[in-house]
Structure formats: C-alpha cells, structure tokens
C-alpha cells in the first residue's frame, strides 16, 4: 500500500514514522512544500537567536520514508487517486493531509522587508536580519509570541521591543490580574520591553517594501520590525474545492474525510462531530494514532478529547496550563498564591469539576491535575491546597511522557547517560512534542555530577524491568493487606516447608521453573517467590463435581510436588474432599465458614462437569443433599476468582460427550459467567494451575487469555509446533502402524491420528510426572484434550478430517 502524506511538520513525520513502524511493508511518501527537511517548529526561537541551526532542530525521520521537498500540492484527483504539484504527480492508495496551519497577519507581509510572521525557518532568517532595526514590534501574546519576546529580550543586539496587545491581558484572557502582573514584571524588568495594552496598528507608511513608520492607537514607531503572533488558521485553501471543509477539512472520529481514501490529521483537520480543531502536538499525535489504526485496520480507535497541557518557560517564570477540552468561560476560580515565591495557582472550576488549571511558577503535580480533569472527579479543595507544595518527583518536565524532574535525574544516576541523545534508549521525554527538549537536556547536564563512576550501569531494559518488579511488589503488598486473617508469613512458611524436608535449593529450582514457564524474565524469580508465600494465604476451595478426581490426583503428583502439595494441600487448600480430614457436617462447616467469612478472598477451583438435567439431581453433595449446580453457585458467588480445572469443567468434557445423558455443561456455562478462567486438560498439568494462580496474585488481574479463556502463557503454543518429533514430520518420516520400525525410532505420529496440530497447550515442553513423559513420547500421540468437545472430535487414533464434525 502506498501512503502519501502532504505536509512537512511534526504531524507528517509522526504519521510516517509510526506507519512504517507498524507495518514495514508500507510505502510511505512525504510531500513537503518546504525546501528543508522537516524540523521542529517548537524550537524556531533557537534559529532566531542562533543557538541552533536547522540541523539542530530537525525531526528524526525513518530513513525508509521517501521525502519529497518543494512539492506544494495544488490539486487532488480523487477518482484516480493522484495529487499534483507544479512539477510532479504522485499517486496514492491512501492520502493523509497534514498541512498544519498558516499564520494570520493583519496585513500581508509578503515583499515587506521588516515585517514577518513567525511560522517557519525562513521567517526566522527574516527576523534575524531585523535585529539591527531600532525596535521590534510583536503583535499578540500567545505562547509563541511570548517565547519570541523572551528570545529577543535575551539577544544583546536587540535594543528595544514593543509588545502590542489589543486587550488588557497577557497570555490568556482568563488569567487573573495578579498573574498578568507577575508575568509582566518578568518582561519589563530589564527595561528593554514595553507593553502597550489596548492598542493596535492603525496605520503604516511603506516605502520601497519597507515600513518606515508604524502608527498605533497610542504609539508611533519609526523603522520597526513587525512580527505577527496573532494566531493561526488551518492550511486548507488548496483542498476547499475537492473536500468538504468547515474551519478545517471535515473528518469523522477516525480522521477520515468524506473521501474514504483521504484522511486529514493535525491543525488542518476539523473533527465534524466534535467541532474540534487540534492546537497541541499531543492532540495531533492522538489524531495520527486514530488515523493509522483506521488505515491499518488494527484495533481501530476513535479520537477522544483529553486534557491538554501547555508549558512555557520564559526567563524567570514557568507557566503551566492544563485545560479540559470542554473548558468555557462559565467558571468559578480558586487562586492559591504566594507573593514570596511569586507563585500563583489558578484553578478553574465548573460544576464542582476542575476544567482548567493555569500555574505560574507553580509546584503542583501536573500529572495529577491532568487525571483530575480527564476523570471529571469532584474537586477536593483541601487536596488542591496540599498539592501546592512540590512533590518528591519534582516538577513535571515532559507532559507528553509524564516525566518528572526526579525521574530524569534517576535515569541519569542509574544509567550514567551524558546527553539528550543517549536518553532515547530510556525515555522518549523531550522527543514527542519537543517543547521540553531544552529543559530535559539541561537536567541531564546538571545531574552529571550525581553519577557514581564506580557504579555498574544499568541498561534500558534493566530499568524498565525494575519498574515492573516494583509494581508487582506493590501489588503483593496490597494483596497482603487484603488477607490479614492469615497468620502465615515468610518465616513460618520456611519452617513449614522444612517440615516437609524441602531444601531451599528445591524451592529455588521450582521457583525458577514456574518463572520460566510463565515466560517471565529470570529477575522475576524473587517476586514469584514472594507470590508463592502469598499463595499460602489465599484460602482455596476445591470443588469436585461430576468428575473422576483425575485433576486432584494429578495435582498431588505434580512436578516438585512436595512444594506444591505444601501450597495446595497443607497450607491453603482448606476444602478439598479428596484430602481433607474432616467429613460430613464438619467439612460442611469449613466450607460455610470460608464462604461466609472470607468473601472476595478465596479462590474457587472447580473440577468436573455440572449436570443440569433432572434439576441437577444427578449429583448431590452434603448433608442437605445440595445439587452440584446449587453448591457451585453458592461457592462461586463470593469467590475472588473461579478456576475451571480439567476438560470437564471447561465444557462438560467426557460427561457431556454425545448424547450427554446428564445434560452436563462446563462451569462457565453453568454459572452464565464469562470471567471463569479455564485450565483444561485431561488431566490438567498442575504447573498450569499454579502458574495461573501466581499470575493472578502478581498482576492482580487475569492473565492474558485466549478465546476459550485459557491463560495464554500455557495454552498459546500449538502442540505440533513444539513437538519433539516435529523434525520427522518435516522430513516426511511417519509411523505407519503401531510398533513398526518408525515407531521404534520415534517418528512423527501424525498418520496414527496424533491431534497435535489441533491442540494448544504446553505439554511438549512441560511433560508430565516430573517431566518423565507425555503421550507423544509414549508413542501414542496427542488427543487434543485441551480443546472443546475433544471426546467427540479427537479422542481416537485416526487422522482428523473436518467432515467428522458434522
């Protein structure tokens, strides 16, 4: 597929890079009207003061993306899917328009030497040339205008600057007077800048393409250099004829225009349903993600409005502006200010909800504010007050990546990186919208002396993993709090283990095995061990319904069984008919006690099918003659988790094989619930039960499941793909009859009806009975016992043909 992107800014580059990243087979072309490679407009000021050249602010573009410069697109031929510039023609499968916006100026600056807009690299060159003039006049006080003001202020060759403002406010009309005064003071301190409020240009005299005199309502300025920072509008004039446009090119929530092959992303697009035009890099990248997902057809996501964050650091003051997309002027305001610290926090509140926050020299946790706005929770004023002080993570530096000051310092300390360039392995901070790049860079420089030269340096993976482990450890702590009733701790676990003569090395090897079989990195072992200790604390009820006890039996024979027995039979397995010493009423009391007093804490493991015919009376348990289904419902109601173990619990298994005389079904169907985890097998390999419990405890959520609700880590691999006899299959070496020469040599059993190609489970790698063997090793082949309806489909020694199903 050929994707053509029109535009040369950050949206275009972001689109191109991510398209290529997600599908390297795509052909991606960028058509930019500029003569330079894409660069980051955010840093245009660096070109004005000469701190960087164009290379320095250029954006990183995937080298596989084709870049065409000097291509201003004039027409689209929608029918034939072609676009035309003056010189060339480009055909596309999908076209993405990301032309951004054009600046607004109060009069045309074209052909005038001393007037400019501030939008691209050429503008910067022009502005730089104006440094010799007697006075700069900046019109407008939006973020970009203010930044330029600051840049010019810092340049020694600039003598005088006038900021011309139509209104009586700086930055934003909603700011309080105190805030405006604070900002104003920062600017006017040096005496270079004067601010003229309530003023506007009324006249100008132009000679030889040069403004000689500029007249405003209040001032007359000779030989000025005028820069307009009054606003922008979508750059869509070229497309007005061919596409439906409002303020911008109208799109749906996937950024698709009325033509299904044309998308518009960024400042040039207007999402029709929301009437929304992006103004922040973050919004543009979100839009880009939606468009990409829609084009590639993978997990398509609709665009959703979120809070935006603007940050501005000018000279002595920091400005942070977090705004809800639905912010409007109907608000009440809470201001928390400190004269001493020159700090002003302004909270805009509508209907008890925070809709905007603007902070000057603020210490607040911006990430928290953002969440507060996005979640739309009621505002707690006390918290806002407490939040005025700086947190341990310091200030938010990168709002795109949510990196705080201390996070960056930590990365430097742990990894020993010395430059912004090296940071890219660890964090994208400063690279998404790029606004904070300088701050990030400065922090890295300032933290260099904190690096301990003798310390072993950590790689990016190390740091990532540490974070994950810390998360897991936190969850385990939380889990501990959930189960305070249990008195067992790591200490007495050890003595209990010792009581079964289990050496520490055995524990370790078992933990390694569980860790590996859950496909976790070895450094998770410690956490797994922690989870094992916790497992003891989880009360487990093991119900046997219409079953053969095969899974219970398998359990007590599990790999490194003594430990698993310890866990399941001796410490936490509180109710299990096969093993518990209590019978009759006494066993019922145990069950009642768990169900009543440990609601939401115990894990229910169910073995066997649930007969439903004859009102479920094919199975009755307990002194009250409860039916299997009654008992199951009672136990499942308040269980923290229900595991259906074995094939009968999955779908009725053998009991439900045709003609299903007792109307048996699996646990999930019997309960009418879809949150049951199935761990099928006939019997189930106990390692898969243990692993699933561990992952529940470690990650506090269900493991990733397949469509049968089986944990992916155990049931993802196809038996055939991991089979020890697979090599023989590839060579066409098959057993032709039982006991033949091929059978003696261990050839492939496919011709003998092995169902390995239809079964998904980890038998080939885990095997059974301490890794002693498995059906394929014993020369029989797999019978697909982890799959739905396997007794009617797979439980035989003949090759499977699809027709058999009907």
């Amino acid at each position: 597929m050929r994707i053509v992107i029109v535009g040369g800014g950050i949206a275009a580059v972001y689109l191109a890079n991510n398209l290529k990243k997600q599908d390297s087979a795509l052909e991606v072309v960028i058509l930019s009207e500029e003569k330079y490679r894409p660069y980051d407009r955010i840093h245009l000021c660096r070109l004005v003061d000469g701190a960087e050249d164009k290379e320095g602010i250029s954006l990183v573009l995937d080298p596989r993306v084709k870049l065409e410069l000097n291509q201003k697109i004039n027409t689209i031929d929608k029918q034939n899917k072609k676009v035309f510039s003056d010189t060339s023609m480009f055909s596309y499968d999908k076209l993405i328009i990301a032309t951004g916006s054009v600046p607004v100026s109060l009069f045309s600056v074209e052909g005038i030497k001393n007037a400019a807009v501030f939008r691209n690299a050429d503008d910067c060159v022009k502005i730089k040339e104006g440094v010799g003039r007697s006075e700069f006049v900046i019109v407008g006080s939006g973020p970009i205008g203010l930044e330029l003001l600051e840049t010019l202020n810092e340049m020694p060759d600039v003598q005088k600057i006038t900021l011309l403002l139509r209104g009586s406010h700086l930055y934003n009309v909603n700011l309080s007077i105190d805030a405006i005064k604070t900002i104003e003071k920062c600017y006017t301190k040096s005496g270079k800048i004067r601010i003229s409020y309530g003023d506007e240009i009324v006249d100008k005299s132009i000679e030889n393409g040069e403004i000689k005199l500029l007249k405003t309502k209040k001032l007359e300025i000779e030989n000025p250099f005028v820069v307009f920072g009054v606003g922008i509008k979508p750059n869509i004039e070229t497309f007005r004829e061919s596409l439906a446009c409002g303020k911008g090119i109208l799109t749906n929530l996937f950024m698709q225009s009325e033509d299904e092959d044309i998308y518009a992303v960024g400042e040039c697009a207007e999402i029709k349903d929301l009437g929304f035009v992006a103004g922040h890099v973050k919004e543009c990248t979100l839009e880009a993600d939606c468009a990409i997902s829609h084009i590639l057809g993978k997990e398509t996501k609709e665009f959703k409005l979120e809070a935006t964050i603007d940050m501005l650091k000018v000279g002595e003051f920091d400005l942070v502006d977090v705004s809800s997309p639905v912010f409007n002027s109907e608000y009440e305001k809470i201001v928390i200010a400190s004269k001493k610290e020159k700090r002003i926090d302004e909270y805009f509140i509508s209907d008890d909800k925070l809709s905007r926050f603007i902070g000057i020299n603020s210490n607040v946790d911006v990430g928290y504010i953002e969440t507060l706005i996005n979640k739309g929770e009621d505002v707690d004023i006390n918290y806002l007050y407490q939040n005025r002080l700086i947190g341990e993570r310091g200030r938010l530096i990168c709002s795109c990546e949510h990196m705080y000051h201390q996070d960056l310092v930590d990365i430097v300390k742990q990894s020993g990186i010395g430059s912004f360039l090296e940071l890219s392995d660890f964090s994208e901070a400063g690279r998404v919208c790029g606004r904070c790049k300088m701050m990030v860079s400065n922090i890295i420089q300032d933290s260099q002396d904190l690096i301990d030269p003798d310390m072993p340096r950590k790689s990016a993976e190390d740091i990532k993993r540490e974070k994950e482990i810390a998360e897991v450890a936190k969850r385990i702590d939380k889990f501990n709090l959930l189960h305070p009733r249990n008195e067992l701790s790591t200490d007495n676990l050890e003595s209990a283990m010792a009581s079964l003569d289990i050496g520490k090395h055995e524990v370790n090897s078992w933990i390694s095995m569980v860790t590996a079989s859950m496909q976790l990195h070895p450094s998770f072992e410690q956490v797994v061990e922690g989870a094992v200790c916790n497992l003891n604390k989880v009360p487990i009820v093991w119900l046997e319904l219409a079953d053969c006890s095969g899974n219970s039996e398998a359990f007590i024979k599990s790999t490194n069984p003594a430990i698993e027995e310890l866990i399941f039979d001796y410490i936490s397995l509180d109710y299990h008919e096969l093993l518990m010493s209590a019978s009759g009423d006494q066993s019922e009391n145990i069950l009642e006690d768990i169900i009543k007093n440990q609601k939401g804490e115990y894990i229910l493991i169910v073995e066997g099918a649930v007969p439903l015919a004859m009102d479920g009376k094919y199975l009755r348990i307990g002194p009250q003659g409860e039916t299997g289904i009654e008992l199951l419902k009672k136990c499942a109601k308040d269980a923290a988790l229900v595991l259906a173990v074995g094939s009968c619990a999955l779908d009725g298994g053998v009991v439900a094989a045709a003609p299903n005389p007792t109307g048996a079904v699996g646990v999930s169907e019997a309960l009418g619930r879809e949150d049951i985890i199935n761990i099928p097998g006939c019997p189930t390999n106990p390692i898969n039960i243990v692993g699933t419990l561990l992952s529940y405890i470690m990650f506090e959520e269900l493991p990733a499941l397949d469509k049968l609700n089986r944990p992916l880590w155990a049931y993802e691999g196809r038996v055939h793909d991991n089979c020890e006899r697979r090599g023989h299959y590839e060579l066409g070496e098959f057993v032709q009859e039982w006991g033949d020469a091929g059978a003696k040599k261990g050839y492939c059993l496919f011709e003998m009806g092995c169902k390995g190609p239809y079964a998904n489970v980890n038998c080939p790698t885990m095997k059974f009975n301490s890794g002693t063997s498995w059906p394929v090793q014993a020369g029989h082949g797999c019978m697909g016992c982890t799959e739905v309806g396997f007794f009617d489909k797979f439980a035989n020694e003949r090759k499977y043909v699809e027709e058999q199903e009907s």
Binding site: R620, P661, K767, E797
Partner: protein, 558 residues
C-alpha cells in the same frame, strides 16, 4: 426400639461422592446402614454407537484414581471380542504399568486417605523423639528414617505448622476422639511416614509414566498392543523403572509393613472382636502371569470365611440387580429412575422397595461379595500360592494373628500392605522376562489386524484384578459399533445397595454392630468405610437391559 439416623455426607478422603446413613440404637450400636453413590454420569450411554477402538480412551475417564484400570479393561474386552492376542511384550508392559499403579494406589490410600482415622495429629505433638525411635524398632529391624533427630525435626515442624494457625487438610479432624488408640510416639512415626509418602507417590507415578506417557490417564494402550515401544527399547528407561521400584520397596518394607504391625498392636482388641468384618464372602478372579501356569493372584470364591472350601470363579454366576438403585428394571433398558431424597434430605429407605443409590447391585450366585486385596490374600494364600505364602505367614507370626483376623478394618489394610510388598517381588520378575524377550529379538508390541475385515457383530469381556478388587468390562458390538457397554467395578461390589433380598453389601454389613461413641463424631464409620478404599466414580454404572443376566456378553468359554 427407637433408632437414630446419622447422615455422613460428604465422606471425604475417597474418590467421588459417597453418602452413608447409619441407624443407631440408644447405646450407639449401628443396627442398619445404607451407603449411597450420589453422582451419575452415564459413561456407558456415551460409549454407545462409537467405534469400539475408541472405548479405551473414553472408558479410561471413568476414574482418575483407578486410572489405567478402566483404560486397559475397556481395550481388553474389545480385543476379546475380536479374539486379538497380544504380543508378550505388550502384555508385560501393560502389567508393568498396572503393578506400579497398585503400589502407588495402596500407599496413597493408607497414608493420605486413611491414616488420619488412626493417627491423632495433635497427640503426636506430645511425643518424645528418643522414645519414638525406640518404638519404631519394635516393628522393624531397620525402620525408615528413624534417627531421633529426624523425629525432632518432624516434631518442631509440626509445632510450627500448628502455630501458623493453618492446618489445611488437617483442620477439623476428630482429634482427641476415644477411638484414637496410638501413643504419641506411634502417632509421630505415622505422621513422619505420611509426609514421606507424599514424596513416595510422586516418584512411583514416574514409573507409570515411563510406559504410560502420563498418569493419571495414561495414553499408551491401543487395541492390539501398546505404543511405548521406543521406551521399551531404551535401556535407560527400563533402568529408571527398576530403580524407582527398588526405592519403593525400601519404603514398603521399612515403613508401610511395619506400620501395619504397629496398628495391629494398638488395635488388637478390635481386630480380635472382628470389627469392620463383612459377611465373609470373597471374590477373586485372579490374574497376572507369573511362571508357566502360575498367576500372581489365584481365582476363587470363598463363602462365609470358609477358607477350606474355595470354589473356582465362574463368570456365569455374576448377575446385576437394580431393585433399590435409581434405575428402572421394568421399562426399556438403561432407564434412569430417580426417586429423589426424603423431604428432610435423607435417603428413602423406609420401604423395602425404596431406591437409594446410583450404584447397581452385582451378585455372585445371588450373594453379595467382598472384593479387593483382602479377598486376594485369602484366596491366593488358601490356594497355596507359592509367592504370597511367605509374606502372609511372616506377617501373621510377627503379629500373632490368625488368618481370619485379617477380615477386619485393620486387617484389610494389612492385606493391602502384604500385597504391595509381594507385588514388588513380582515386578522384578516381570522386568527380567521383558529383558529376555527383547534380548532375543522379540520387539513386537502390537498385533496387526485389519479393522475392515473384523467381525461386525461380536461381544467380549475382560476381568481384571485391580487395586480395589475385581473389575469387569463387557462390550457388545453391532455393525462395528458399540451397541452396549457394561462395567462392574470393585466398589460396585463392595458398596452395593440392598435388593429385595435385603442382603447387605460389604460396606453396609461391616458397619453393623459398630459402636459409635459420639454420634456427632462418627469416626468409627469413616474408619470402616475407608478400609475398603472406596472409589465412587468407578462404582456407578448403568445396568444393561433388564439387568440380571450378563450372559449376553459371553461369547467364549475360558
């Protein structure tokens, strides 16, 4: 005389769903007993209409504890129907899998399912390790792990266990009950072995898996032979198997058997009183090739403990009744006829025709029979089986018991242990026969047949001694599909309900006359029932046709 009814449900530490109801008089003596299977699955109904070659994989799922027994029996009855003879190697490998299961099953049964009826965990805490070590020497020259430091360890760890507040499966036992008769030291010995046996049973399971692929539910038997030929030809696999059995024998001779002697010592009074004795009818079909004509177990039938007049087993005398089981004898075959419980959720037993169990009622010559290790020991020993003789005599003389005394709760366990010990001996002989075969280039493991030209309408049956007793599978084949399948498992015999004849089965009979000290803690009942090693998933089967006659399955004379 007013009788009080005690309901025990669930009976735990057994396979499956068993309920017992006993009626006791004012003095706590059991006057009547009813045991009932509480789950029906209908595996035979599911087998109908399927390819006979698939019977094994499906019928194997009858039970995950007696795993392999049903797998093998189902395949064997199909082979019988088609008159397929097995290669020697296949026969031996099937036997090796079965024998390892005997050992595994018996040890798990005693220590993990039964011993807590004799062992008071809390009493063990009072034991003195030194005296414990001495005590163990009373029952064995070389007791298993008998240093007092070992017992100290067990004790300390047991105390920690209790301190931790979580007894897991040990919680809510009938601790302190007067029927616990062991001294603290004796309790400690058995607890120590309980823990050892956990490791033991995993290890012995590996022996099953070597030739079976896995256990529970091995997967290496097919109609005509076995599939694990590569394992058979691998000397390392054979060596592993032998090594595991050798280790097992250590435990059996130095822990399991001595523990039985210890129990006999402690419970001699009740043994002599015949506690837990059933009606004395024993059934054994024998089997497992030994040397020439000899078999590991002899076949035979004993009536009323008359060991001198043992009849040959005659399969034509086996019949099935369903008078008081939840099936219909009148209407069409296999009809389920569930009559529910009483309103107070007790079994309906008031009238002689009230149905109360899913278990059908097999009879031999019209009589209820006990089957299992005890029956095997009685029959084989009385018929002069050379291999077993010394084992039985050694045990009886060491414990000062008569043969008849074994017909009791404790005796049943003793018989099981004796059997386990001599099975180990037998296994060594089996393995050397296998090695001889392979050495002389007989590597056949499968008998070739062409399913397409086999008889379309035929029938077959298979009788096996399996850990819990006599297992029989019957198959009728019509148009190359299973027309009917029927199973009588050991627990079907032992846990049979009554018929119109009013005859009690072994479970029910063994409970009669039992004195229950505390009706809220019926430990005595559990002890008796557990001694049979109940397996309920096995026991429940539909009856074929109007029941009674199994002649329909009989095609050939044996």
């Amino acid at each position: 005389m007013s009788l009080k009814k005690i309901v025990i449900d669930p009976i735990t530490r057994i396979e499956g769903h068993l309920r017992a109801e006993v009626e006791v008089d004012e003095t706590g003596i059991v006057r009547e007993a009813y045991v009932s299977g509480q789950l029906f699955r209908g595996i035979e109904l599911i087998l109908k209409g399927r390819d006979p070659r698939d019977a094994g994989l499906l019928a194997g799922r009858i039970c995950g504890v007696c795993t392999n027994s049903h797998f093998r029996a189902a395949v064997s009855c199909v082979e019988d129907a088609y008159s397929i003879e097995l290669p020697k190697n296949a026969q031996i490998i099937r036997d090796l899998i079965a024998m390892a299961l005997f050992i595994q099953d018996h040890v798990v049964h005693f220590y993990h399912l039964h011993s807590l009826d004799f062992v008071d965990v809390t009493s063990a805490l009072q034991a003195d390790p030194k005296r414990t070590s001495k005590e163990a020497h009373k029952y064995s020259d070389k007791p298993f792990r008998n240093s007092h430091s070992h017992y100290e360890d067990v004790l300390v760890k047991l105390q920690n266990f209790v301190k931790a507040g979580k007894l897991g499966p040990f919680s809510n036992g009938y601790w302190g009950h007067v029927d616990y008769k062991l001294t603290p030291e004796q309790n400690l010995i058995l607890i120590s072995h309980y823990l050892e046996a956990l490791k033991f049973q995993t290890n012995i399971s590996r022996a099953v898996a070597i030739f079976g692929g896995k256990t529970p539910h091995p997967q290496s038997i097919v109609v005509g032979g076995v599939t694990s030929v590569a394992d058979m030809l691998n000397p390392q696999r054979l060596n592993d198997y032998l090594f595991i059995i050798k280790e097992a024998k250590e435990f059996i001779d130095r822990a399991y058997l001595p523990d039985m002697k210890l129990l006999v010592d402690a419970y001699k009074d009740e043994i002599k009183a015949g506690r837990g004795r059933a009606n004395g009818n024993f059934l054994c079909v024998g089997g497992y090739e030994f040397e020439g004509e000899q078999r590991l177990f002899c076949n035979g039938v004993i009536y009323a403990h008359d060991f001198s007049a043992i009849e040959e087993f005659d399969e034509t005398k086996v019949s099935e009744e369903i008078d008081r089981a939840w099936f219909s004898g009148e209407a069409k075959e296999n009809e389920v006829c569930y009559t529910d419980l009483n309103e107070d959720k007790t079994l309906k037993t008031a009238k002689n025709e009230d149905k109360y169990s899913w278990i059908k009622a097999p009879r031999y010559d019209g009589r209820t029979m006990e089957t299992g290790p005890l029956a095997r020991v009685f029959v084989s020993y009385s018929k002069g089986n050379r291999l077993i003789k010394s084992f039985v005599e050694e045990f009886l003389s060491a414990t000062d018991l008569e043969l008849l005394d074994l017909s009791s709760t404790v005796g049943r366990n003793a018989a099981r242990a004796i059997e386990t010990s001599y099975i180990c001996e037998y296994i060594f002989k089996l393995v050397s026969r296998l090695i001889q075969n392979v050495k002389y280039y007989d590597t056949d493991t499968w008998t070739k047949y062409d399913f397409g030209i086999l008889e379309k309408n035929t029938a077959g049956r298979a009788f096996f001694e399996v850990p819990r007793g006599v297992l029989s599978h019957f198959v009728n084949i019509k148009e190359a599909k299973i027309e009917n399948f029927s199973v009588i498992a050991p627990t079907t015999w032992n846990a049979t309900p009554k018929n119109f004849d009013g005859l009690r089965g072994a479970y029910e009979e063994a409970l009669i006359g039992l004195k229950i000290e505390d009706t809220s803690k019926p430990l005595e009942v559990l002890k008796v029932l557990h001694s049979f090693d109940p397996c309920l998933a096995c026991a429940v089967h539909v009856i074929d046709a109007k029941g009674k006659e199994l002649g329909a399955y009989k095609m050939k004379n044996t």
